[in-house]
């Protein structure tokens, strides 16, 4: 659909993803090797010479192929696999940047945290990170079990109600990386995407500073768009920082105009898709929790989309 989504799963772009990908390739290769040996044994059993068949049926084969081989190979693989991925669970030093990501049906709540753990910037479905350094994610769930997975930047980790799981991600270079909920969470689970944007550290600092200012600035009445956002009922579920819109049931729209995607990482963000989403998101993402707004005229849809495009 657009850059980064659906995400490629064997194309790592950072240290945490590359160890997982390497282990995957080793497992694929070994699986293929074992399959070949089994097929060869099957061929001998069916069509092989009598002498070979008798050897294959002997006790030695069972001792070696059935016991020694898996015991040695699987033990070696376990040790190697654990050593390869042990840095995934290194202790968190505490000075890394932290972001809390909460899985919701069917989108992602994003909160950038300060040193004290307070949410200072709220966003949804999109995460900005600096390239070249690890970022710690606090993964939580607002309802059922979800799983956070940005294949090019990390392994997957479940988001479990009542629990906080920590995970590091890192991108080696600036870029856009798609993610996907990796644990079936009902309804449009397959359309619960995510976008990570890695910036150069300088650019990242600019983005964050601008957003900190934006969160602190009350918005002067936004005209017709703001009025419509309120009267159509959008503000019951959506928040826009500095306005009366304070709903927390749906994604935060403070930076909607700057987001690359709509519908939780699944469609490109432009005037047309915004209007289509507001008018009837159910046709795009069936059973998501936003009702179709068939009461709005084309002018009202345009006004709302224009208002949202200006939120950044």
């Amino acid at each position: 659909m657009f850059e980064g989504w659906p995400p490629p799963v064997l194309d790592p772009a950072g240290p945490y993803a590359s160890s997982v990908t390497l282990l995957s390739w080793i497992l694929f290769a070994m699986g293929a090797g074992v399959l070949l040996v089994v097929l060869a044994a099957l061929w001998i059993a069916l069509f092989g010479r009598r002498a070979l068949q008798e050897k294959l049926g002997g006790k030695k084969v069972i001792w070696i192929g059935g016991l020694a081989f898996p015991l040695i190979v699987l033990t070696a693989l376990l040790v190697y696999g654990l050593s390869l991925t042990r840095h995934l669970s290194d202790d968190i030093a505490g000075d890394e940047m932290r972001v809390r990501i909460t899985g919701e049906m069917w989108w992602w709540r994003v909160a950038y945290l300060d040193e004290a753990g307070n949410a200072v910037i709220q966003d949804a479905n999109e995460l900005h990170i600096p390239a070249g350094q690890p970022v710690v994610l606090e993964l939580e769930s607002g309802d059922v079990i979800h799983s956070f997975w940005v294949p090019r930047l990390s392994g997957k980790l479940d988001m479990i109600p009542g629990r906080r799981n920590l995970m590091r991600i890192q991108a080696d270079a600036p870029g856009v990386f798609g993610g996907q909920c990796a644990e079936f969470c009902g309804g449009p689970h397959a359309l619960m995407g995510f976008t990570v944007i890695a910036h150069t550290p300088a650019r990242f600092a600019q983005v964050m500073q601008a957003r900190l200012r934006r969160e602190a600035t009350p918005q002067v009445a936004g005209g017709e768009g703001a009025r419509l956002f309120d009267t159509a009922g959008c503000s019951a579920c959506h928040r826009i920082a500095g306005t009366g819109a304070n709903g927390l049931a749906g994604p935060d729209l403070t930076y909607m105009g700057a987001r690359r995607t709509i519908g939780a990482g699944i469609m490109p963000n432009n005037r047309g898709t915004l209007m289509g989403w507001i008018a009837n998101s159910q046709a795009i993402k069936p059973n998501n929790r936003m009702p179709p707004y068939r009461v709005l005229s084309s002018e009202e849809l345009t006004t709302l989309a224009t208002y949202l495009e200006a939120q950044k």
Binding site: P268, R271, G272, M275, G276, A283, T302
Partner: protein, 129 residues
């Protein structure tokens, strides 16, 4: 008239032949746009998300219901119920609907002129199925 190479020249020829065709009825009863690239058109349809509002033949997801389904485009007489269904008009409408039909719910789309023609080509070819 100095013709520039490739597509552009072709497009001018097309416009010219359309103009000539208009002089001697009956016109062709089917629309087509032979110079566009339907594959690139489909890629552009996916990239900008036309499916958010329209159900488009050949596009599995999404199947939007905000605007009309775009099947049978080659057979339709009018675009948006107002404009003649001509290749040049369709391409222009795809790119900037409000300029042609003020008040249209379809917004201007972020596609280039070439992409708009490719999309029109795709709709004329695929829409016939």
């Amino acid at each position: 008239m100095k013709l520039t190479a490739g597509r552009n020249a072709g497009f001018q020829c097309l416009v010219l032949s359309l103009a000539l065709a208009a002089c001697k009825p009956p016109p062709e009863d089917r629309q087509s746009m032979p110079l566009g690239d339907p594959a690139k058109g489909f890629a552009a349809i996916e990239r900008v998300g036309c499916g958010s509002c329209h159900t488009i033949p050949g596009l599995r997801w999404p199947k939007g219901t905000v605007g009309p389904a775009l099947n049978g485009m080659a057979e339709r007489a009018l675009i948006a119920g107002k404009l003649p269904n001509r290749p040049d008009v369709l391409a222009a409408y795809i790119r900037n609907a409000p300029a042609l039909v003020p008040g249209s719910a379809m917004p201007a789309m972020p596609v280039s002129e070439v992409e708009a023609r490719d999309i029109a080509t795709y709709l004329y070819e695929k829409g016939a199925e």
